[in-house]
Structures are given as structure tokens and as C-alpha cells.
């Protein structure tokens, strides 16, 4: 089940909200936990048992790690938990990648296992790992209640597409959270804005990028349009989904940290990764980069640590070599910035913005390629002056057809609309906003619903995560 679907919006969510509202406070977590398992099972069927098993295992390990804190067994349990969690993730996500790589390098043909990838496994595995490590470190106490723990891991707002929620961020909220008019209203607003980003902008741009991949009327302009459209599509898709997750969390009384902070206004790759998929970046920093030594063991070791983190980041995004290459690409850029470029970028804003957008655009072309060869071909297409026509009829057609959507996407990828809203809020326009805001949100829900009802095109980009 995905948030941007009629089944979720008009069956599942109203039903869960109604039950949640009528249940006493003690039972509210059970409602979230059970409905989340149902939500997961809707898409993954019997794999919900694997998920439930992971939750039970994570809960037991947390209890054991804490119980044996003052003995070596605590570390043993932690290592065991990490191995099992990562082992499950490796099996489902990376086995065929591993087999394919062996086949390619040794020129043999071991048959692929074609294992179905459980949706959200990368997200919930990282949540479980962070919990177990935090319990081991003593940062958080283990959760004694299985229901509360299950609620933390499984809660459907953030289950299949993040943000990766740290247990430390919501442990008190599991037991004691506020349900207020303001919070609920803000949650609804955030959800609707995320829903609009996903359905109106991301899905529309996705239709265009899908057409591009089958086009035979290629041109340099067409490649640039595709690259720009994909860069915007993935941002609005991912950040839209995160917004929906954060909004839903708020409706149920939870405060999640933001996951995207207008990354395309960044002036360096370093800054970009502090604004893009923030929960993943901080996870890798806290659980891989810093334990490896971070920047505390000399430049050489820091560079090595950066490479490890970014190769793993690439791999986390997908089980294919273009993702590894994508990770290495960012590792190299980050190292260059750390060594000398960042100082220059800090002093040259315009150049820095152009630099950032250009490199991110190239990065996402690499990210979206179906293979390394495709990636090379797509990047070459951007610069094929002379080999490809500059423009083509199809490119002009799609520029005209998607120009407004792209322009809107560019504007909404910046904080300008939000800043304008904040500016108006403190003025006489506040009374106007009092009515306008709910009406706009209602309109967006209606329009978004219209797009869902009409379209069969509603891709879920995170199936590979």
C-alpha cells in the first residue's frame, strides 16, 4: 500500500484514524502497531512474517544487550544482532547482485535466485540496528513493551520510505505524546503538501522521464530536459513521501525530524548531503563514519572512512554497480571539497550554486541508469554536440508540455513559497490565510485525488530500497 493511493487515503487512513481516536490512550500504540502490520502485509503478503520476526528479534536483542551491559555478552549480543540484521538485508537485497558480479568477473553462470525484495527492508533494518547500537552504548534504555517497540519499528508513516527514525527521538513520545488541534492540523497540512509534491509534480515528471527512456528522437536538449526532470522528480517524490510520513506522524502525535531541507539551494556537495535524506546521512555518520574514526585519525584515515561510508551509501540505495559508482562519485567530490574546494565555494556563491546543481544533475543521471553502460550513454548524451542534433521535435514538444510543471518544481524546490507564507502570516493577510490555507489544502487533496483516479501512472521509486 502506498500513501498516494485511493485505498490508503479513503479506506485505510480514515479507518485507522477513527479507531485511533476512540481507543483509550493505553491502546493507541496497539492500534498503530496492528494497523502498520496490516499496511505492510497489504503490499508484502507473507513477508510480513519476516518483518514481524525482525521486530521480535530486535526487541529480544535489545533486552539482552541491556541486561548483560556489564559483561562481554552485551557485545556478543550486539554483534549477533548486527550480523543477523545485516545478513537478512544482504540475503534479500544483495544476493543476486553478488552472484551477478561473480558471474561477470569469473565469466561463469551461476543462476540468480530472483529473491523478492521486501519493501522498506533497508529502512527498518537501519532503524533496528540504530536501536540495538544505542541500547549497547547506553544512549537509550531498552524498550520493555513489545507493543511500544513494535510501534516504533513498524509505524506505517515512516515504515517503507523513511525518514529513518531514531529510537532516542521518539522514546518518550511512545509513552506520552500530545494530540492537539494545532498538531493535527499541521500534520494534515504537511501530509497534503507532500501528497501534492508526489502526485502533481513527481508523478507528472515521472511520465516524462519514462517517455524519454523509450524515445528514438534523441537530442542534446532532450537529454538535458530528462536530466533536469529526473533531478526534480526524485526530489519531489522522495521529499513528498517524507513530508507525508512526517505529516502522518504528527496526526498520530509523533514529531519526526525533517528529512529534506531544500537541498537544491546548497552551495556545496557537503551542504547538499546535510539537506538531502538527512536521516540517512546522520545514520551513516553516527554508526559508520564516527565509529571508524571520523576525522580524528588523520587525513588518510578520514579519506578512507569517507570512501567506505559513501560506497555503503551507494549500495544502500541499490544493488547495482552504478549505485556504488554513484557513492564513490560523491566520496571523491566530498574529499575534494574537504581538502581545498570548500573554502573557494564559500566565497563564490553563484559559482557554488551552479557547481552544485551541475554535479547533482550528473549524479542523478548516473543514479537512474539501468546499467553502467546506460549511465555512460546518458552522460555522453548531455555533451554529444555534433554527434546528436541539438534539438529534436520530441524534445521541443515535451519542453512545451512539461515546461510549466518544471518551472513550478524549480520554484517549490526553493524556500521562496514557504518564506512568502511566513512573511504573510505575520501581517494583515493572516485573516485571509485563515480561510485560504484550509481551502488550498482541500483543493490540493481534490486535485491530487483526481490525478490518482485518472492515472494508472503512480510509480513507487523506493521499491529497490
Amino acid at each position: 500500500m502506498i500513501f498516494s493511493s485511493i485505498t490508503f487515503l479513503y479506506f485505510f487512513l480514515p479507518a485507522v484514524i477513527l479507531v485511533y481516536l476512540v481507543m483509550p490512550a493505553k491502546a493507541k500504540n496497539s492500534v498503530i502497531f496492528i494497523s502498520s502490520l496490516f499496511f505492510y502485509a497489504w503490499g508484502e503478503k507473507l513477508l510480513v512474517l519476516l518483518f514481524l520476526g525482525s521486530i521480535i528479534f530486535g526487541w529480544i536483542m535489545g533486552l539482552l544487550i541491556e541486561k548483560k551491559r556489564n559483561s562481554p555478552w552485551s557485545k556478543v549480543f550486539l554483534i549477533f544482532a548486527v550480523i543477523v540484521n545485516l545478513g537478512i538485508l544482504f540475503y534479500f537485497k544483495y544476493t543476486d547482485f553478488f552472484i551477478q558480479s561473480i558471474n561477470q568477473s569469473l565469466k561463469i553462470s551461476i543462476p540468480l535466485l530472483k529473491i523478492a525484495l521486501p519493501i522498506g527492508i533497508s529502512f527498518y533494518t537501519f532503524q533496528l540496528l540504530s536501536y540495538e547500537v544505542d541500547v549497547y552504548r547506553g544512549t537509550v534504555p531498552s524498550q520493555k513493551s513489545f507493543i511500544d517497540f513494535g510501534t516504533y519499528v513498524a509505524m506505517f508513516p515512516q515504515l517503507i520510505a523513511g525518514p529513518i527514525v531514531r529510537y532516542s527521538d521518539i522514546q518518550t513520545q511512545l509513552k506520552n505524546r500530545q494530540h492537539t488541534l494545532e498538531k493535527t492540523s499541521q500534520g494534515i497540512g504537511k501530509f497534503i503538501l507532500g501528497f501534492s509534491k508526489k502526485v502533481l509534480i513527481a508523478n507528472s515528471l515521472g511520465q516524462f522521464t519514462a517517455v524519454f527512456t523509450t524515445s528514438t528522437d534523441l537530442s542534446v536538449l532532450y537529454y538535458w530536459l530528462y536530466a533536469l526532470a529526473y533531478m526534480l522528480q526524485i526530489y519531489f517524490d522522495f521529499s513528498g513521501y517524507s513530508d507525508m510520513a512526517i505529516g502522518l506522524g504528527k496526526i498520530f502525535g509523533f514529531e519526526f525530524n525533517k528529512n529534506f531541507d531544500y537541498p537544491y539551494i546548497s552551495k556545496s556537495i557537503t551542504e547538499f548531503w546535510r539537506r538531502w535524506h538527512i536521516s540517512l546521512g546522520t545514520w551513516f555518520k553516527d554508526y559508520v563514519y564516527i565509529p571508524l574514526g571520523g576525522n580524528r585519525k588523520g587525513k588518510g584515515r578520514q579519506i578512507f572512512n569517507i570512501f567506505v561510508v559513501w560506497m555503503l551509501t551507494g549500495l544502500w540505495h541499490g544493488a547495482a554497480w552504478n549505485f556504488v559508482l554513484w557513492g564513490i562519485y560523491f566520496a571523491i567530490l566530498l574529499i575534494i571539497e574537504k581538502l581545498f574546494l570548500k573554502k573557494f565555494l564559500d566565497k563564490h556563491n553563484i559559482f557554488a550554486h551552479i557547481y552544485l546543481l551541475f554535479l547533482i544533475l550528473l549524479g542523478f543521471v548516473l543514479f537512474n541508469a539501468s546499467s553502467l553502460n546506460q549511465a555512460v550513454s546518458d552522460i555522453a548524451g548531455l555533451f554529444s554536440f555534433g554527434k546528436l542534433p541539438l534539438i529534436s521535435a520530441e524534445a521541443i514538444y515535451y519542453l512545451k508540455s512539461y515546461g510549466i510543471i518544471i518551472a513550478l518544481a524549480v520554484i517549490f524546490a526553493t524556500p521562496l513559497p514557504k518564506n512568502l507564507y511566513i512573511k504573510l502570516s505575520g501581517t494583515k493577510a493572516e485573516k485571509f490565510l485563515m480561510i485560504a490555507e484550509p481551502l488550498v489544502l482541500a483543493f490540493l487533496l481534490i486535485i491530487g485525488t483526481a490525478f490518482l483516479v485518472d492515472g494508472s501512472f503512480n510509480p513507487f521509486l523506493y521499491f529497490r530500497f
Binding site: 494545532e182 492540523s185 510549466i404 510543471i405 480561510i435 482541500a442 481534490i446 486535485i447 485518472d454
Partner: protein, 364 residues
């Protein structure tokens, strides 16, 4: 009460109202069986069982049901079409476009693989039935609406020259009859992909001049009372003026006998089926719509000339215009009959054989 609190109450109220209202209607309102605008059956709630639950089919069927039975579905589809066109300035909606009152579907690019498959099918017919016969073989290709409309609207256009050249070259045993000059945008319905029977007399004339050394006969045209909303109307979900269907009648028609082999056995059929004219797709009034094999016998034709047409749906409306020139016309639609079964129904001897296909079918 401060304005923020009012805003919060209004937000929750409006959104809850929308959400719960539509949920309630979706759950409790009677379910529709069929969509006239989309011309298809609508999904109902699937019955759960272990098999469809464990395979996920129940869930995907339920999602389809939720989409199909959503309240005011047609209105929402129209809203999306209007919003896409007039707010987002998108040129097409799910591949459908509206240009100065004309609805059409983007048909590009040319697909060499699909063209090749269609050619292979026809060549197989030739090799199996026609190569060693005395049949005179003709080929004619019908341009689709986009040939005329897409360049006007500056939309992507298929390479029609490639398609024409390829098909002609691969079917070089057939005499090519070029009907492109006899067709224009006005030959087509504004809301449907098909051509208008009253506008294709020049096409019929060209075909008959080549095949039968005759001019086309005279026809008196009558208009159906009901307006004709073509297939594109439902798909596009935009408000457009309907077409009118006209059908031509010739004195020979009083004695014409039409036989359908839809069920495998011969049964009487109609040249113009007035029941279908009131149905979900009024264009089906021409020879009753899709049919694997139809014969039309005209006892008024004295020379016993026979014609076999391998055709698509465009053939349904042009065939009546050819009747006066032939004592028997057999229509074959290879989409609905296995070529190997043709020997049970047809003797290919010395008939005129016409491969008559639209660019839409050749490219699909």
C-alpha cells in the same frame, strides 16, 4: 478564538469532510457495473480467499475496485484533464490531445518491430493461401488522423514515409493503391479515430477504379438521431462537441445478404445494425463491429466479381460503398481469427484480394 485556531479547525473539518464523505460513499453506495464514458466493465469488490490474499491478487484487485468505483469518477477524470491542460498547459493527457475541437491520440514513433510483425502476418497469408492462386492482390494503407492533425498542432509525428515504404517493399506482390490523396482531416470524426463513411466516397472510388475498373455508385446518406461521442471522448475526459454518424444506402442494399461467422457458424447479420447505433460504441453499427469473418452477397452484381478484404475496423465503414461493384465481399479480421482456420471458410481462387489496413494497426 484566534485566527490560528480557526485555521486549524477549518483545516481539520474540510479535510475530514472530504476524506470521510468519499470513504462513506465508496463503501456504502451501490456499485456501478459499466462505464459508458470509458466503455468498459468496472471492477467490484473482490471476494477474499486464501489464494488471492497470499498471492496479492486480492490487494491489487481491491486497489482497482477503489479506483473504478470512486464516487464522481468521471468528474474527477475531467477535473484532472482540465487541470492538466489549462493549469499545467500539458499538451496531452495520457496520450490524448485536443486541438481546435479535434480529439486524437499521439501515435508515434513508428515501431519497426511491430510493423514487421504485421507484415509477417500478411506475408504468411500470402504464402499459405495466395501465392499459388489466381487472385489479384492489392494493398492499400489508410492514414490515421494524426497524419493530418499532428503537424498542424505541432505534435510529434510518426515517420509515415518509413511505414509506407516498408510495407510496400515487403508486400511487393501486391499492387499498391494510394488513397492518401483522397483522405483529409475532415474525413475523420472529431471524437473518434475512425473515418466518416460520407467523406470516403473518393477513397472507394479510387479502390474500385483500380480493382474493378468502375466508379463508385451513388448513395443516399441518412443521419443517426443520437449524437456520436467517439472513443476518444471517454479517454480524454474533456468536454467536446459530439459528431454525427451518417450512413449511406444504395438501391442494391434491399437484396444484399450479410452473414456473420462470429460464432464459428454462419448467422444472419446486418449491414447497418441500428441496435449497436444506440449502444456503447455507435461506430459498431457498421457491419456490427468486430467480427472475424463476414460475407456480403449482392445478387444485383452480374459479373460475379468477388472481393476478399483483410481489414481492421476502418474496413467496416468503407465496405458498404464497394458492395455495388461485387457479387460477394468477404471481410476477414485477422485479430479475431487464426489464419490457419481460413481454409475452412474460404477458397482463394481468382478473387480480388485487398489488404486494407490503417497506419494505427500496422504500427501496433
Amino acid at each position: 478564538m484566534n485566527s490560528n485556531k480557526i485555521k486549524h479547525i477549518l483545516t481539520i473539518t474540510f479535510l475530514a469532510l472530504i476524506c470521510f464523505s468519499f470513504s462513506g460513499i465508496l463503501i456504502f453506495a451501490p456499485k456501478k457495473d459499466y462505464s459508458m464514458t470509458e466503455r468498459r466493465t468496472l471492477k467490484k469488490v473482490p471476494a477474499p480467499n486464501w489464494q488471492n490474499l497470499s498471492s496479492g491478487k486480492f490487494m491489487s484487485d481491491f486497489d482497482d475496485f477503489a479506483l473504478d468505483q470512486f464516487p464522481l469518477r468521471d468528474n474527477f477524470r475531467s477535473l484532472k484533464a482540465v487541470f492538466s491542460k489549462y493549469a499545467l498547459f500539458q499538451k496531452d493527457n495520457n496520450g490524448l490531445y485536443l486541438y481546435k475541437g479535434w480529439l486524437s491520440k499521439l501515435e508515434y514513433p513508428e515501431n519497426p518491430e511491430k510493423i514487421g510483425r504485421q507484415i509477417s502476418k500478411l506475408n504468411s497469408i500470402y504464402k499459405t493461401y495466395l501465392e499459388n492462386s489466381n487472385c489479384k492482390i492489392y494493398l492499400s494503407i489508410i492514414p490515421d488522423k494524426n497524419y493530418f492533425l499532428a503537424p498542424k498542432a505541432k505534435f510529434p509525428v510518426m515517420n509515415y514515409d518509413y511505414l509506407l515504404e516498408t510495407v510496400q517493399n515487403k508486400l511487393s506482390y501486391a499492387e499498391f493503391i494510394d488513397i492518401f490523396p483522397q483522405v483529409s482531416l475532415e474525413s475523420f470524426y472529431k471524437t473518434d479515430q475512425h473515418w466518416k463513411q460520407e467523406k470516403i466516397l473518393p477513397v472507394a472510388d479510387t479502390l474500385l477504379q483500380v480493382m474493378a475498373n468502375q466508379k463508385v455508385s451513388t448513395f443516399e446518406f441518412f443521419q443517426l438521431e443520437n449524437p456520436f461521442y467517439g472513443t476518444y471522448v471517454g479517454q480524454a475526459a474533456l468536454s467536446v462537441k459530439p459528431d454525427s454518424i451518417l450512413y449511406g444506402v444504395n438501391p442494391d442494399f434491399t437484396q444484399v445478404q450479410v452473414t456473420s461467422y462470429n460464432s464459428g457458424s454462419p448467422s444472419p447479420a446486418l449491414l447497418y445494425d441500428m441496435n449497436k447505433a444506440q449502444g456503447r460504441d455507435p461506430y459498431e453499427m457498421f457491419l456490427g463491429g468486430s467480427d472475424p469473418l463476414i460475407t456480403i452477397e449482392n445478387p444485383n452484381e452480374q459479373e460475379q466479381k468477388e472481393l476478399i478484404i483483410f481489414r481492421d475496423s476502418f474496413g467496416s465503414s468503407i465496405t458498404p460503398l464497394l458492395i455495388p461493384a461485387y457479387s460477394k465481399i468477404t471481410l476477414v479480421d485477422l485479430r479475431y481469427i487464426q489464419p490457419s482456420l481460413l481454409k475452412n471458410y474460404l477458397d482463394f481462387d481468382s478473387q480480388d484480394v485487398l489488404f486494407l489496413y490503417s497506419t494505427l494497426i500496422l504500427n501496433s
